[in-house]
């Protein structure tokens, strides 16, 4: 067995342990309850965290691969922010429609993520890492501000939207709200793995990728759509989570190597395990109340980001 395949198996085993542990741990104690009743209550939330974490981890690896930049995290470049803005607009201005059909909210998130991706591409491509990150910071700042404005002008949705901006939607997870976004997360993450050969070719630059038989423009379009689908669905489950799309691929790269055939599935496993553990820590660590999973992720992700930035040569 190769080192990469062993790393994937290890990642899957660690995720299984994280899932088992997370359904056992509650805010007031541990255990599955009588007949597993407590575990069944926690299961939708844990599965939502796993699905969203997987989608955000794979989304991060996709965007890093497409932009050939280890700092290209959809959480930093505004794509996840765009997804939240899309969801917030629907929740704020058409709240009945938001819950009328299970696909409405993920679709709004998808549309917001696509719009953010278009803005990022229009302003950030073709000028190297600095332009991309500057454009991403601008898109991210805009989506964050617009989301808060929607919350401010639509008082009926204010609490829901603000909770989303804090990455605190996992607490509302139920089988009815989790199944479709969870399925979209799993499908988009699985479909993303089919882009691995193209992303490997793209790592050598557009010119060489084309002579190797790739079509970089088509690959970028497919990757952007899958990232947006993953972002839209994951955002409906958890709200906005910073740094997961950055940290999961870097952890995966350290464990399984850099080829996307292994990196994409490993990023999904790492993202799922990290968000499940962050949510578990958030709801059990403090005696006075729970912390959003996003806050726990940021507490660990921010130092990781600084470490990665420090290691960059350019």
């Amino acid at each position: 067995m190769t080192r990469g395949a062993a790393a994937i198996l290890l990642g899957a085993a660690l995720l299984a342990v994280a899932l088992m542990t997370a359904v056992s741990v509650g805010s007031t104690g541990t255990g599955w309850g009588e007949g597993g009743a407590l575990a069944m209550l926690r299961l939708p939330r844990v599965l939502a965290a796993a699905a969203a974490g997987m989608a955000l981890g794979v989304g991060g690896a996709l965007q890093q691969g497409v932009f050939r930049n280890p700092l290209a995290d959809p959480g930093l470049t505004g794509v996840f922010g765009g997804a939240l803005l899309g969801a917030a607009l629907l929740l704020g201005f058409a709240p009945e429609a938001a819950w009328e059909r299970a696909w409405h909210l993920p679709a709004a998130g998808f549309a917001g993520a696509v719009a953010a991706t278009l803005a990022l591409t229009a302003f950030g491509s073709g000028g190297g890492s600095s332009r991309l990150l500057l454009a991403g910071l601008g898109v991210n700042a805009f989506t964050a501000a617009a989301t808060l404005i929607v919350a401010a002008v639509r008082p009926g949705a204010r609490e829901t939207i603000t909770n989303g901006a804090y990455g605190d939607w996992l607490g509302t997870a139920s089988p009815e709200t989790v199944w479709l976004p969870g399925l979209i997360c799993a499908l988009s993450a699985t479909a993303a793995c089919s882009l691995a050969p193209g992303l490997d070719r793209l790592s050598l630059g557009d010119d060489v990728a084309m002579t190797l038989g790739g079509d970089p423009r088509a690959l970028r379009r497919r990757a952007a759509l899958l990232t947006a689908a993953a972002a839209g669905a994951a955002t409906c489950l958890v709200g906005q989570v910073a740094f997961l799309g950055l940290v999961a691929p870097h952890l995966a790269r350290a464990l399984a190597g850099s080829t996307h055939r292994l990196l994409l599935p490993m990023s999904g496993l790492a993202g799922a395990a990290l968000l499940v553990l962050a949510d578990m820590a958030g709801r059990s660590a403090l005696p006075t109340g729970s912390l959003p999973a996003a806050a726990v992720m940021a507490a660990f992700g921010a130092p990781a980001f600084l470490w990665i930035a420090r290691r960059r040569d350019d």
């Binding site: 050939r68 930049n69 050969p197 490997d200 070719r201 793209l202 790592s203 050598l204 630059g205 010119d207 060489v208 084309m210 002579t211 190797l212 038989g213 790269r253 190597g257 850099s258 080829t259």
Partner: protein, 224 residues
């Protein structure tokens, strides 16, 4: 000629208002090694990228081999991620062939090393191995190499020249843009470019004569 692997006829390429290639006619037959030489900015890289199908042609005709027959190594090959040499070779449509080329180019002992730990010359050999492995068959293949001997020590330079000879002897057409006159003199044909125009084309001793060198590079060679 009808058997050329690639051909340009009165080819023109423009970038904005700048005409980078102008009226270039060049046949690239099988079993050949063509060296593109010329001063900086003469259009060598643009002609090579055009032969790789990477540049939009403004005017003239361009005939290229079928997709999958062209191997291209750019002037500054790079990789966004710190792949091992083995991982880099796995990107090729023929990974085992890429590894075999690594061995032939003297990098066989480096396959487990990461690109970031290699010297500039070792990295160039790795990217050359990848480019040379792309075509399925040497006969009919078009191998385009931009400055293949830059950054290389004398031994590696000889290995590259030997690899080019092997490929062209097997029926491939190799085209290399270079400032290395030693490499150019090993070619079967030399095409001299100046300001986007083909000013000389023929066997090295003919295309690189003292008059062409004086007119193109402004260097007066002492009579031998």
């Amino acid at each position: 000629m009808t058997d050329a692997i690639a051909r340009t006829e009165a080819l023109g390429v423009t970038f904005g208002a700048v005409r980078v290639l102008d009226g270039v006619t060049l046949d690239v037959p099988p079993a050949s090694f063509t060296a593109l030489v010329g001063p900086n900015g003469a259009g060598k890289t643009t002609l090579l990228r055009t032969l790789a199908g990477l540049t939009r042609v403004a005017d003239g005709d361009l005939t290229l081999p079928p997709p999958g027959s062209t191997g291209y190594c750019p002037q500054n090959p790079g990789c966004a991620w710190n792949f091992s040499l083995e991982e880099l070779c796995s990107i090729s449509p023929r990974p085992s062939e890429a590894l075999a080329w690594c061995t032939r180019l003297g990098a066989g002992g480096l396959v487990e090393r990461r690109l970031g730990s290699l010297s500039g010359g070792e990295r160039r050999m790795a990217h050359l191995a990848l480019a040379l492995s792309i075509p399925a068959e040497p006969y009919g293949a078009l191998i385009l190499l931009d400055e293949p001997t830059a950054d290389l020590d004398a031994a590696r330079r000889l290995l590259v020249i030997e690899a080019i000879r092997q490929l062209s002897a097997s029926g491939a057409a190799v085209v290399a843009a270079t400032h290395d006159f030693g490499l150019a003199r090993a070619a079967s044909k030399v095409a001299v470019l100046a300001e986007g125009r083909l000013v000389a084309h023929g066997p090295p001793e003919q295309a690189l004569n003292a008059e062409v060198i004086r007119a193109t590079w402004g260097v007066e060679l002492a009579p031998s």
